[in-house]
């Protein structure tokens, strides 16, 4: 066991997988000699060489496009997009190619590719270093979308993602890259994809969330205990495939749900969760599902902390569903 932050956990996962599976290749801008702008890939090139930890030219569509080729060959590329905000040049390759390759080839070919990207706000990143584009990828059949919330989660989920036979978009909450630490086993372990985690049990309201927002939700849950409201917090871990069973079990018990995410409100993943809960548990609900989200604006620089959901906004939503 070791106390690690998310960066260390990610780095550890990559070291272990590259060691045990010669097919694993890490590639992206600045990942090799420099070890990554967040140091997530530190030491990999030194240990495994330039052919396995590769500094690429500055072209997201090239990183992902060539990674697709490598995956088709039979390697296990772990491609890094430096910030989720820069994924868009690669969007065509991810959505039109990687996601559809198995399906359109009748299962003859597949793309076991992992795409890592730091996402989310809170680091004074403004429009282009703070985005949460997960909804675009969840909307695309053929992709998996995984978002860890702490170091223990990150390592286990990343190892599972790398071993997965399908293209996985792995979004790392950069706001808590260093600030959140957990006890992490030093050897290899996996956390299954498609299974969410009950962070805190509760009776009155279910908060469904992921990534950095898990900690804000827990903070809100602690505060609400003083009001005598008992909040249950679910960390989704995998947005796709979604663990609907756990959500439904919880909501049928508490009868109230609040979804929390940083991404903008309209067509954010919360909209999908809300629709699913209403479709599957309508008669159990005491109130409509509430969503606490980023606003429908580009991510602001100066007013960042007004944009991001905080415990206060979550508690307002909790109060709304309690008093509906």
């Amino acid at each position: 066991m070791a106390l690690m932050n998310i960066i260390q956990a990610v780095n550890n996962a990559l070291h272990l997988e590259m060691e045990s599976d010669g097919r694993v290749i890490v590639m992206g801008e600045d990942v090799g000699k420099f070890g990554g702008v967040f140091r997530a890939t530190a030491g990999l090139q030194e240990k495994f060489g330039e052919d396995r930890c590769i500094d690429t030219p500055l072209a997201e569509s090239g990183i992902i496009g060539t990674a697709i080729g490598m995956a088709l060959y039979g390697l296990r590329p772990v491609a890094e997009i430096q910030f989720a905000d820069f994924v868009y040049p690669a969007f065509d390759q991810i959505v039109n190619e990687a996601a559809k390759y198995r399906y359109r080839s009748g299962g003859m070919f597949s793309c076991p590719l992992t795409i890592r990207m730091p996402y989310g706000g809170g680091i004074k990143g403004g429009h282009y270093h703070s985005q949460s584009p997960e909804a675009y990828f969840v909307h695309t059949a053929g992709l998996k979308v995984v978002i860890p919330s702490d170091p223990y989660e990150a390592k286990g989920l990343l190892i599972s993602s790398i071993r997965d036979e399908d293209p996985v978009v792995f979004m790392e909450p950069k706001r808590i890259y260093r600030s959140v630490k957990s006890d992490v086993p030093e050897g290899e372990y996996t956390i299954p994809l498609g299974k969410s985690r009950l962070v805190k049990e509760g009776r009155d309201v279910t908060i469904i969330t992921y990534g950095a927002m898990v900690h804000i939700a827990v903070e809100a849950a602690m505060k609400s205990e003083e009001e005598g409201i008992d909040i249950e917090v679910i960390d989704l871990r995998t947005l796709k495939p979604l663990d609907l069973e756990t959500i439904m079990e919880s909501v049928k018990k508490t009868r109230r749900a609040v979804v929390v995410h940083e991404a903008p409100r309209t067509c954010g993943f919360g909209a999908e969760i809300s629709a699913l809960i209403h479709e599957n548990a309508m008669l159990f609900l005491e109130a409509p599902v509430a969503r606490v989200t980023g606003y429908d604006t580009p991510f602001p620089y100066a007013l960042e902390h007004k944009y991001l959901p905080d415990a206060e906004r979550i508690l307002t939503a909790v109060s709304d569903v309690m008093n509906f």
Binding site: S61, G62, A67, Y73, Q93, R102, S110
Partner: protein
Amino acid sequence: MIYSLFVAFKMVEIISSDGTLKTGIAPDISSEQLLKIYEHMVLVRLVDERMILLQRQGRIGFYIGSRGEEATHVASAAALEPEDFIVPCYRELGAALIRGFPLYRFVCQLFGNRDDLTKGRQMPCHYAFRDGNIYSISSPIATQIPHAVGLSWAAKIRGEKRCAIVYFGEGATSEGDFHVGMNFAGVFKTPTIFLCRNNQYAISVPYKRQTASETIAEKAAAYGFEGVRVDGNDAIAVYKAVREAREKACNGGGPTLIEAYTFRVGAHSTSDDPRAYRSDEEVEEWIKKDPIATLKKLLINMDYWSEEKDKLLTERLNAEILETVSRAESVPQPDYETMFEDLYAGG
């Protein structure tokens, strides 16, 4: 003082239009190989004619022919080894056929029936054939170029003597993925053969509107590797260029851009009418340089072939095509449930 960085690109031509070899160049290719190339070029031509008819009759929904360009994909694929990766664009049926893609499976893909290896999921001519190392075809232009770079890069990393050939038209060279693929290939010296079928038209948009470059071949210079321009209607020139590029690639020499200068005699697809944007005269000029007619003349001049044999070949192939169509046409559609399969591993 440097006035020009670019040498004017001399186009490589080996067969003359009268069916003789240009003086001093002996073809380094066996008669078996030449006849195999010829037969497959004729096959593509006959398949195209039949399938375009089928589309006009409403029996298939769509078709992409490659009339006039048969040498570009047949002769190039013939120059490769079976383990080399073929990454098509969508106008290279001959490459697939000469690689062993069963005609029956191709026709089933056109019908989208349950014997289609790709389960009726895509439009006609968007096939894949794993056993022949033929990678899956999609509609977005140029996206396959970085894939070919990645495939060949992986082979290089693994120490295998294998190359990838990626096909695309001159229109694709305007897309970002062309630039990106070429750039990665140059930087990492991947064993990739970039084969551009410069057929002069991207649907209705002519070459001069696609690029201000005099040739496609010269674009390789910007990426730090060699560009070669060949007469795309000259099967031997195409074969030779690819053979040399393969040799170079598989021995650490890195990528090559081959521009096969040709002409799209037919329409872009069955959804196109080229009379709306180009003259019959322009097309007629290129029909005179037909790659099949030229190669036939050469083969007869070299005593490898005859009019009699040609007649028999055409008869045999047409019968095979008709029989295949008849068989494929009666096969039903895939079941509804198959729409939800193959999204992820394990169904």
